[in-house]
Symmetry: C2
Subunit: 458 residues, 2 copies
């Protein structure tokens, strides 16, 4: 980036940007930069121009940018272009995107990316390369779309020791869960509807299995606690096995079920970080329980500020573009500062990350402490509840609430089985695993026990 | 601020901070900086030290900081101290605080302040002085306490043309309104309770009359729309005249009443900015309608990102300290960049503000467009509703809903009067003023008409 030495912001050269990939998000970036160029220039003090676009589909790229930018098929031509200050990677995935990001860094370009998968898995390598080269890699768009959550965590809450983060960070699954609850429908039915409406992709695996949320939770855990990204240590459970019945029972008990990405600092015992994505019962009165449809929200608990929440659109062309452009402006500013004065990629100075990983390891799931919703299909006979609660008491798991349905309501008239729903207080996941195994072995427990984790988030 | 030229962040000198005033917020700043010093250093790349504290109550100051910092009675001794990089003003008010902030700027110090009143009224003068001197004035703590809303508006949403902002930005009034609704009590009763609990001050005027919220809304309007702060043009209406009956009727119609600070860009007609604080009906299903107690929340509607919301504690020792310290770290970073690369005080380059004020003036209240809740105490006789709705139709104000109570329910058995509640669609405030005057003149309208504005916030 050229350093302007005149002190006159009116004549600063516009930032020259190269886009790699101009699909949904890339088009959004181009359109928003065009539409709001005056507004953005009034804020940034200089223009931001997309000088060059690479896309394998040159025709599509041309139809978006017209004659406003050079269009090429070869991404490496953008990286090699000496006029380009910042490369925006919007290709996605781990493959070619990784190679191109590393090449852009090696060429001395700053990089903006929306690629959560790439950063959650290869972030350590990429940030190290960027630090060595003295360039920035910005990624506000990688987590929760247009919500400026990375900036909030990295800068806004910089005074705080962050205790936990819990987020609805995948719009597809939140849409599906909202529909299941609203309409009392099962997962498969709603998924098809979501695909028809464009809220779910043709291959929805990454979304519905929780992988996308886990990528984002991994990135947030690093920024919150000053540890490296460690996606391989994340616990990932999606929503495919959730039944309409559990959503209904949760509602009756005052809870909603959300797919949460959770990162929690544990101290006083097995010190470490919980990093997990799974369906979660949340008290219905919490704001985050009322985040519906494809919207995202992230709750952060920190020692000085207390609870804060950030809500908005987690995906889509222009919301994501909003985050990409904010990164472009940030880079245009901080590029003028000495590298050691810039905001570190993961909020904390990079030379401190390895030590933090040792002091605060990502805990295995058996060491996680949470509370639980259990649903047991049981024989409708005397003594079942006593046996089940006896086993829990023996494991030192205390019970918060019990809901026992009438057999007729569950299995129809004359039914010989019923549903027993138990809410527990907090316990170790390993302890709960053992208790579930014991309950499952009871002859009066008729089907697989459903276990959903519960967080009070207070 | 000394510029570090070695490129080695490990040996950067700690930032030296001087505090003016060490009451609730100042103590919080001191305590959080102490408690989290390791965490903050790991983020900022250098330490942040409170070197010097000025407070008229030297004993109190000493009891907070012990021997960790110099304590003086004279704020000017802090400003004159050549070792101090940043002066934090936590005195409050327009008087001595203004003089000290200007003196600190003149002495070449960066300034952090939580003083919303000062900035809303004298911001233009203060920011001009800071720009001329090449120093920064940061004020995250001035709006919504610990919520990083200034950063979100100024940097996170930089790509956007912001359309409107609506915020619960005064915790005292939100606490009072929450209690009035929960317990069905009248304003006076709850105010006393709030004072007893410390949620309201002994002289609560600035809070309950909406002045504090208007200061904050004024600052946000400037940052959102690129106009100067113009507190004198804000419309300010507090909650002192709200009755429990209106809160109850609003609830029956699916709304909650919140004191909102609103800044809205109007285009296509009388271009300008609406800047207003008043009790507002909000649909009960909106997240912001569910923000209870002393909590704050700000909703921002912007063209690219859509709706985002920011929620957290709007006041208190450590939440406010969280924002002050975030500003200290930001200044430590951006001080190393050329002034023209820093984030402008009010988000937009200062030389563009005057032109924007002319193009986008703050509109008089009569030009505001909103919808309304009206409550009329009327005689319980035939034809009243027809007369009232006829007047509204004549003024071209369309009706969204009508709720007519049984006379017995309102005035007791045998009552000859009842309440007529009308929700309207959007209209000009001036038009509504005329219509209310006409309705008020009807002999069947028995008492003063209650008018509360309504916003759908979608």
């Amino acid at each position: 980036m050229r350093r302007n030495l005149t002190g006159n912001s009116l004549i600063m050269k516009p930032i020259q940007v190269g886009l790699l990939g101009i699909g949904t998000v890339g088009s959004g970036v181009f359109n928003v930069l065009n539409r709001n160029q005056e507004e953005i220039r009034r804020r940034a003090g200089r223009g931001i121009e997309i000088a060059c676009v690479a896309d394998l589909d040159v025709g599509r790229a041309r139809s978006v940018v017209g004659d406003a930018a050079q269009v090429v098929a070869d991404a490496r031509a953008v990286i090699a272009n000496p006029d380009i200050d910042i490369v925006v990677e919007l290709i996605g995935g781990y493959g070619i995107a990784k190679a191109l990001v590393l090449e852009a860094i090696a060429a001395g370009k700053h990089v903006v990316t929306a690629n959560k998968a790439l950063l959650a898995v290869h972030g350590t390598e990429i940030f190290a390369a960027a630090s060595a080269k003295g360039v920035m890699v910005a990624f506000e768009a990688a987590v929760a779309g247009g919500i400026p959550i990375i900036k909030a965590l990295r800068e806004g809450l910089t005074a705080n020791r962050i205790q936990w983060i819990a987020g609805i960070i995948n719009g597809t699954t939140n849409f599906i869960l909202s529909e299941m609850r609203d309409k009392g429908l099962d997962f498969d039915v709603v998924l098809k509807e979501a695909q028809r409406l464009g809220y779910a992709e043709a291959d929805p695996t990454f979304d519905i299995e929780g992988v996308d949320a886990a990528h984002k939770a991994t990135i947030m855990s690093a920024i919150a606690f000053g540890i490296p990204v460690q996606f391989d240590k994340a616990y990932v459970e999606g929503i495919t096995k959730l039944g309409a019945a559990d959503i209904r029972y949760a509602e009756q008990l005052g809870y909603r079920i959300k797919l949460l990405g959770i990162a929690r600092r544990r101290t006083g015992g097995a010190d470490g970080v919980e990093l997990r994505v799974h369906p979660t019962l949340v008290p219905a009165k919490r704001l985050i329980a009322n985040v519906e449809g494809a919207m995202n929200a992230v709750v952060v608990q920190a020692d000085a500020v207390g609870t804060t929440l950030y809500y908005g659109k987690g995906a889509g062309s222009e919301p994501t573009a909003s985050a990409v452009i904010a990164d472009l402006v940030d880079i245009a500013r901080l590029a003028a500062a000495d590298p050691e004065h810039r905001v570190p990629h993961l909020a904390f100075q990079p030379h401190t990350l390895d030590e933090a990983r040792d002091a605060l390891p990502v805990l295995p799931m058996t060491e996680v402490v949470t509370s639980y919703y259990l649903r047991l299909r049981v024989a409708d006979e005397a003594g079942v509840l006593a046996k089940v609660t006896g086993l829990l008491a023996g494991a030192d798991i205390s019970i918060d609430a019990v809901l026992q349905r009438e057999a007729d309501e569950v299995g129809g008239e004359g039914s010989t089985h019923t549903d027993l729903i138990i809410l527990t207080h907090e316990t170790r996941e390993g302890t709960m695993n053992d208790a579930i195994a014991q309950m499952q072995a009871l002859p009066t427990v008729l089907g697989p026990i459903v276990r959903i984790r519960k967080e009070e988030l207070n």
